[in-house]
Symmetry: D2
Subunit: 390 residues, 4 copies
Amino acid sequence: MSLRFVTAGESHGPALTAILEGLPAGLALDVELINRDLARRQQGVGTGPRMKIETDRANIMGGLMDGQTTGGPLSLQVVNADHNKWKGKQVETMTAPRPGHADLTGALKYGYHDLRPSLERASARETTMRVAVGAVCKHFLSQFGIRVGGYVRAIGEITAEFGNLPYEKRFALAEGSDVRCPDENYANQMRARIQEIIQGKDTLGGILEVVAIGVPAGLGSFSQWDRRLESRLAAALMSVQAMKGVEVGPAFENAGMPGTHVQDGISLGSKGSLVRMGNRAGGIEGGISNGEPIVLRVAMKPIATTLTPQKTVDLHTGAGAPTQYERSDFCPVPRAVPILEGMVAFVLADELIAKLGGDSLIEMKPRFDQLRKMRVQDFDLDGKAHLFWP
Amino acid sequence: MSLRFVTAGESHGPALTAILEGLPAGLALDVELINRDLARRQQGVGTGPRMKIETDRANIMGGLMDGQTTGGPLSLQVVNADHNKWKGKQVETMTAPRPGHADLTGALKYGYHDLRPSLERASARETTMRVAVGAVCKHFLSQFGIRVGGYVRAIGEITAEFGNLPYEKRFALAEGSDVRCPDENYANQMRARIQEIIQGKDTLGGILEVVAIGVPAGLGSFSQWDRRLESRLAAALMSVQAMKGVEVGPAFENAGMPGTHVQDGISLGSKGSLVRMGNRAGGIEGGISNGEPIVLRVAMKPIATTLTPQKTVDLHTGAGAPTQYERSDFCPVPRAVPILEGMVAFVLADELIAKLGGDSLIEMKPRFDQLRKMRVQDFDLDGKAHLFWP
Amino acid sequence: MSLRFVTAGESHGPALTAILEGLPAGLALDVELINRDLARRQQGVGTGPRMKIETDRANIMGGLMDGQTTGGPLSLQVVNADHNKWKGKQVETMTAPRPGHADLTGALKYGYHDLRPSLERASARETTMRVAVGAVCKHFLSQFGIRVGGYVRAIGEITAEFGNLPYEKRFALAEGSDVRCPDENYANQMRARIQEIIQGKDTLGGILEVVAIGVPAGLGSFSQWDRRLESRLAAALMSVQAMKGVEVGPAFENAGMPGTHVQDGISLGSKGSLVRMGNRAGGIEGGISNGEPIVLRVAMKPIATTLTPQKTVDLHTGAGAPTQYERSDFCPVPRAVPILEGMVAFVLADELIAKLGGDSLIEMKPRFDQLRKMRVQDFDLDGKAHLFWP
Amino acid sequence: MSLRFVTAGESHGPALTAILEGLPAGLALDVELINRDLARRQQGVGTGPRMKIETDRANIMGGLMDGQTTGGPLSLQVVNADHNKWKGKQVETMTAPRPGHADLTGALKYGYHDLRPSLERASARETTMRVAVGAVCKHFLSQFGIRVGGYVRAIGEITAEFGNLPYEKRFALAEGSDVRCPDENYANQMRARIQEIIQGKDTLGGILEVVAIGVPAGLGSFSQWDRRLESRLAAALMSVQAMKGVEVGPAFENAGMPGTHVQDGISLGSKGSLVRMGNRAGGIEGGISNGEPIVLRVAMKPIATTLTPQKTVDLHTGAGAPTQYERSDFCPVPRAVPILEGMVAFVLADELIAKLGGDSLIEMKPRFDQLRKMRVQDFDLDGKAHLFWP
């Protein structure tokens, strides 16, 4: 049994819900920590009008006593402020599916007579709960010095370069930017491009990077296909609305290079530690974390809803029709950062719980210290050479 | 409960095993069908010497009676011809981890005193069982007119273009090519590049494409994060050794384009069917198959084992050391095609079983016919317009 | 992927939550249907004072649009009326674990400094959500003519006999009885015994029977250990607070009888149908439902909290101490009927979804009709004998 | 991710297979340890003729290097000696389903045209692999001083009483008895009863007890319904062929007693430890192990195959017919002991792995010592009273 979560709720329903199950007891948890990430999800250039309606705040409905997790399931709720406006109101039937959305596939799958149920559940509104769950998981990881952060690498065709800028710095700079890009120069270009696209009644996607720092070696496994860390992370990231591509490190670039240029050589550091000469593997070798930063790159498609109508068919009239506009973002890329961070944090939290075992932080922390110590000690040069075996 | 499989076995152990569980009864299954795919996995330019040692053949140890599946678990075995040579022989301890491999991460995770156990299980030899399991899943899907095929898109920096060449044609041409590239011109360049890299004692990766044709709309779901089809497919593909990037359709390219250029418009076809004006979504919208070909692109890293030694540290002596060469491929990309096909087929088979339900082909086939019929009929223009609701 | 549910919430927290995931679309669902079962859970002789405080009513927070399930996760909430009284109030630390409760084991597991968190989550208050989830599952099953009902067989040492009273009748009579016993004579004895036990400041357990009628043959499987229907039902029933024993049919009695007395002979009925000459197997043979009523018997222990103090140790003072009384039932057996019904219904709903497949009732109903028809037709004597193969 | 296993293979197929996944590395494992339990499964009064044909021996096909587990999946195989006799031979179609078996339900579920496939997979021959998997799990548990043993409590109507005989002693005495009953007097009665039933061409079931000693408090949880230890154990035990009832401790007896007679009082032992005044809870309170022996009682039905024909219908002729005898046991109860031990050990091993975490015994052992120490220390009376909080 491991960490698991499910979410529920529709875009305009009374509330969104998530249950996160399997966290240890004894984690001090302030709801503001969740609210901060919920706010991060609502900010950014290119955000549509709905975000001005909602100011998401979480209610913790279970799993917390005296400000600490109990080991019981955490029940999280975000009320939809927009619900009351919809309640009772006769919402018009939607019959012309928007290409790129779940409108048509949902109706085909579930036999809907109206496309609205597709929109309501498939909507990225659901990512609110991913952020809430993820904020808790990030907080849990932070107890062990593990940090998960993210930033925008590209918006549309504008791709930023950050050189050797350390990850912690990237995270910090991105937070100060309304496009969540660590480099102000690129950020300006991105902002301008977004304004342009809004003028042109179009939308933009982009590329995000999520990085986990301080992850101990040994999470994930090659022992079985579904235990590989890349596999689990890819599943988590690709489960987010609009995410259609994932790579661990610069994988597509690596695929075009000779093997000798791609591997991260191993050398001796001070005090007998092992030092990696690069991180083209993105922190994972053989399906297992190797102690380097885990670097994930995710391709987000441009939002399918555009003010410029697209070609579709009205399923009611059986005739060609333009798509109708539904309130939406123009470029949701900056807002996606906390969502992806959250999903990565969820997977790493699960793996860390499996590695450490136990049911409370009190039980887990000494084990983690031991794990850290073991690694340092193992690689200590003791003159007798047997580096890492006890 | 759904379709599941696990594999077991080491690279030089007595045999590899897989159990595939949840297939319906009544599927006629000839072991030669598995053997054909096992052979496909052993062929291709750039293949190392081991493939001349092994001629993999499957034994079906359970789940089949009178040539038909029973609904019980299918037990598959491939004996390692190489095992006898290793048995009894004193294999030298391996102490210098090769960068890019599981050597070091496995030892750190499992506390090995020798790196060999990492190699033995993490080895791509395990993909033999993915191919075996996948061959069965592809055969199952073929009962419903669903075909999963693949080919090589790029080897190193050589990237082929196929224009509008139909997928079925690509599959056929790729099978005739020792680099599994449908275009002979590009194939020649790839072949030359591989020879060059072998001369240079280096290795190459590349990009593979796997395509599923004939998949009905409605597989996968947006109802929960872990039910999304992209997520499940990404997990399956990224679980394969050396695969580090996945995209659905040209996702990274889409990320750089405006929304209006990326969506696949919907128009009316003959007999009232809906026709998509493109497939940039790669056959999946809202986490659900949309009836178009499902197109997956996978980045495979160059093999980490190179004849040219790489920098590492001997964990026994505690000193820097070059990597020792272990028998390996120079460019395994062509051989990877049936592995990736197999993993895609596994996910789709599971989803199809969930969609159709039932415990035997006799039960499932009429349901599938109904599903197909419903779709055609649903979109029939009957003058009364209500297109797809019953 | 299949039907799943998780619950969250504490006994005196703001609310209880459940998410039920994997239901098909198109199930009309009235919240009163859930409320009726919630009320059933709150009634019965031997009920403690809390039940007069709470009048549980469900809120559906997700998964329902226009009164119909959407195929998305159903989010259910029951607000704890008692919460406001507790909020802010300084609840006294509890330090003397009550034998038979989770007080001590929870504290040992999770490292609690106070026993209250154990009580709060381990409390049978959580069964509220089992009932809510179960009410939905029963309603789903009822669309296919499947009925799950229950009644009390024994309270303390009073064991009722019902002869050949048909199950539907037992259900109806039990609903009219405040001890949920179908036989008025035995009900009187049970009621008297409960009064006596209340006088004696003690508690009583008992034996419940849950029966599922109309279940088609073919649910569950012998193909893998964790697919067996008995196994899944036992897990579901034994997961309910205070349930410590389960048998399918009269299993413990059967264990004492010769084989020839225990099996349910097969004979020919009218129109060529097969008729079973008994149901000592409790409706399951070889891990698969056989079409007969599924009969489950569950042993519920007497509630561990007694007005008569029991021996324990105060963990704070380190000295022997009597248990402190916490508000509780005297005999919760009658109230447990809808809980157990719910758990059985959940398992059967999951199995039925696997058997029928599909994503909406529209898709599933014709398949079920076909399943029923197939069975009748298969066993029709057509003079040509080949009874059940198509 | 946790410990999991699947089995495959038919009664007369070439071999039975199991894959056990999730064991830590570094467990020294001798195949003879498995073979010993396989032999235990083949012995006992009341055993049918097949057991004289097979002398089951396990082959370890994966997961073991240099006699130690690697952390990779363990692949176990038992060849069916009987297979060669069946191979090629034209086995007669079986068309008259035996009541109490999977014959009919399997055919209905999977659409078989012959009843044999039901028999082949549903057969208790599959329990061979449960025993093999279980032997490994017991061996793993033994590294932590946890012992799982079993014995026969009742055969038919003969129910033994053992008074206060310690469990370890019961295990030892049972092993010396061909009916696996610790008391020679009762054993004689059981043996006589079995001979009588063989004469009468009938069969017998019985009641088995499996006990786990040395299990630390804190396994299982009340946090979620499917994490409760009773639930998981019941599922495991009821998944074994012919097992139809399970209770934790004397649950059905407890159900008839007042609450004050049933709970296991807590008192102070020497050195400040807590001592339980009984074990009517069977070692589990609130879904969590409490440190006392876990006592499970299982009802096994008499084997359905009897030399005395039973009433059935030939599905081919459509006429009433007697059952045909298939080679079978007369009383398999003694042989079932190692099967049930194995299933209990599997669940406990999984729970222990979750509690301790880690990937190797080297990592887990100090954590277990800490767990044991923490318990003792926690309950030490230090004059300052705060007993178990750190």
